[in-house]
């Protein structure tokens, strides 16, 4: 099944020139039917999340302007914020050169996007270059959680898999 044929928004991928230089939206979904979605704060530029969308999530996000992902851990369409209230409002969507990744510039209700409680999922930095020579210790760049995950998610399963 070609996902692109099911949608009123998506064109088929006919040539490299069309995909790279054209004005048709012709997204490429991977073998699992997913496309990566990179979410940044539209005001600060901070990277908030790296998630995935299936065709339905991408369509619903385009249609509503509210960000929907595909949850790989729950294997279900996921309207971000349904449990937590941390809804992501789309300010701008972009697509990359070969149309296999989507950039979402958003405004977040509640000011946090990470299920651990931080503003961004990328709350720890990794030492590199000379700083890495004596071994790697991650540094917390956010030191205070915006919310308490136990309060917000209760006993819902943690999406992090080992």
């Amino acid at each position: 099944m070609n996902d692109n044929q099911k949608s009123r928004y998506f064109a088929s991928r006919d040539s490299v020139e069309q995909v790279e230089e054209g004005t048709e939206l012709a997204p490429k979904f991977d073998a699992d039917g997913l496309i990566p979605a990179i979410t940044t704060d539209s005001r600060t530029g901070e990277l908030l999340m790296h998630g995935y969308m299936n065709a339905e999530a991408l369509e619903k996000t385009i249609e509503t302007g509210i960000v929907h992902y595909y949850s790989r851990s729950r294997q279900a369409l996921w309207r971000k914020g349904d449990t937590s209230g941390l809804v992501q409002h789309l300010i701008e969507m972009r697509i990359d050169d070969d149309q296999d990744a989507v950039w979402l510039r958003v405004k977040v209700d509640g000011g946090a996007s990470c299920h651990v409680g931080y503003r961004s999922c990328f709350y720890r930095s990794v030492p590199t270059g000379e700083a890495a020579q004596s071994g790697i210790t991650l540094k917390f760049e956010e030191t205070e959680k915006v919310f308490d995950p136990a309060e917000v998610y209760g006993d819902a399963p943690n999406p992090t898999k080992l």
Copy 2:
């Protein structure tokens, strides 16, 4: 083979708490041995690329501070800029909550990161919400290429796959 066991930088993934709240780098590579890498301009916050790293590319990037990816089209380690000169110098690396994605904040020699010639790979926006109701036409947000790909890459194969 567990990639993490091969590396002097990577710890094994022992618990969700260690992965999310700890200070050990315990990256999760997917079934193909890859981890997504999101690259932004350290000065402007603009999203430049969405690429992939294997364990070797991640190690070399940590060690040298120069960004290395894994090229899926060429199936090889890829020191960005080897052909084009558009080398990416790492300013900061971050890892996400479940350690299955890496954020690279970079400074780019030559000011462009996209093989099509644009500054960012995400040079087109997608209309959403009301603007999408009459159909989707991508809008070029960058209108001038920084370089001519034919000059820089010659007849090297285009990495975009249909």
